[in-house]
Symmetry: C2
Subunit: 233 residues, 2 copies
Amino acid sequence: MDSDAHAPDPSWWGRPNRNQSRSTLTREAIVTAALAVFDQVGLEGLSMRRVAEALGTGAASLYWHVADKEQLIHLLLDRAMGEIELPEPDPERWEEQLREFAHAGRAMFGRHRDLALASLGRVPMGPNLVRLTEWLLAVLHGAGIPSRPAAWFGDVFALVGAAQAVEDHLATTGDMSEFTAMGEYLAALPPDRFPNIAKASPELVAGSADDRFEFTLELLLLGLASYIKAEPR
Amino acid sequence: MDSDAHAPDPSWWGRPNRNQSRSTLTREAIVTAALAVFDQVGLEGLSMRRVAEALGTGAASLYWHVADKEQLIHLLLDRAMGEIELPEPDPERWEEQLREFAHAGRAMFGRHRDLALASLGRVPMGPNLVRLTEWLLAVLHGAGIPSRPAAWFGDVFALVGAAQAVEDHLATTGDMSEFTAMGEYLAALPPDRFPNIAKASPELVAGSADDRFEFTLELLLLGLASYIKAEPR
DNA sequence: ACCTGAACACCGTTCAAGT
DNA sequence: ACCTGAACACCGTTCAAGT
């Protein structure tokens, strides 16, 4: 008997999806995994090691495809920006379209709890932010708003949108939110020393996230309108 | 000869400032040290270990006086807010006073490079933010602005101020700043596919930090004015 | 009451070595 | 060209033990 004589492997022993399941690492795949991890554990919990683990590999392997954790966050942000769908720019309805855009952005941030926080202090310029920028400028230019205020307004708009989304998040976070704790602190201040806080105390904290969002949006749009009128060139 | 016979220490060997230099740890002292470390190494570089080292002790010692790194950051923010000096509220000059307030805030953020970034996504409510809030509400109430828009406007105002300060920082950071790199990227985009970016490309990036700051400030003030008029109750 | 050292369970990143 | 394990130099926080 010859113990060296092996029968060939049967066909059904073949590894499934030879080149797919043991998926080769891709930048795309890494960003996808990172976004999933991010959605589960937040910005604080996001780590190269965890992303790697989700891909069944080690952290060091990521560095062939990605420069940095910081770069990965930028890629992740751009990926999420891609979820915002845009209608054809319609100059006639520019104000309405800006409102719709704001709501679409807010919805996107709402789907990824910590994304707004991650976006503050970063300018995740990439294909998708380019796309959004082009659209926004098209709408503003179409409305007859000159380049300078249009460009600068876009900046403020994005920023306020993100910041507002962070507040949305704060206001709806676990147990007794920071928000209500703050309300109690403010309400308990001596009214004679802080008369204006005492007077406004309910308003400082109350109001639904929706109401606040609309207020801020309106503030910006009204500001924009006035500015255009005040400085038409 | 008796080797146990020691001469007493001469007076000039005494430890300087017996109860002061070997300073007992205080929350105050910790916050001071933390702010100093923060100014040197930024938000990224701030660590409990480094703060402790600056105080000549170990990280564990801080935890008697401070709950968290997170709490320490809040304390540090409130401390810095204390640097903003406020004039008597003068209802007659409310718009001008808001402008002065914005500039004072910007100057404070300018003194502590990473502080604006740290403040985004945090509501560092404490004695000093209370003080600033009371002042802001006094000015707005004095101007006849009702509590709700006043309160909500304060929010937006603080937020935009911080975000703007972050941009100030980005625009002036080391070597070739992210800002100019972004400008080159945008300018190099195919103009036929991104006509509006092509048209606005210089404006997207150009303009001094001062100009942008004034633009944003004006936008908010004009928005506020319009809002009041539009919704007087 | 306050401080400490040592430990725990993590990090991001690099680098020689493998295929 | 791409992936890996092990190492380096860090983290925040806890906890028993000291004074």
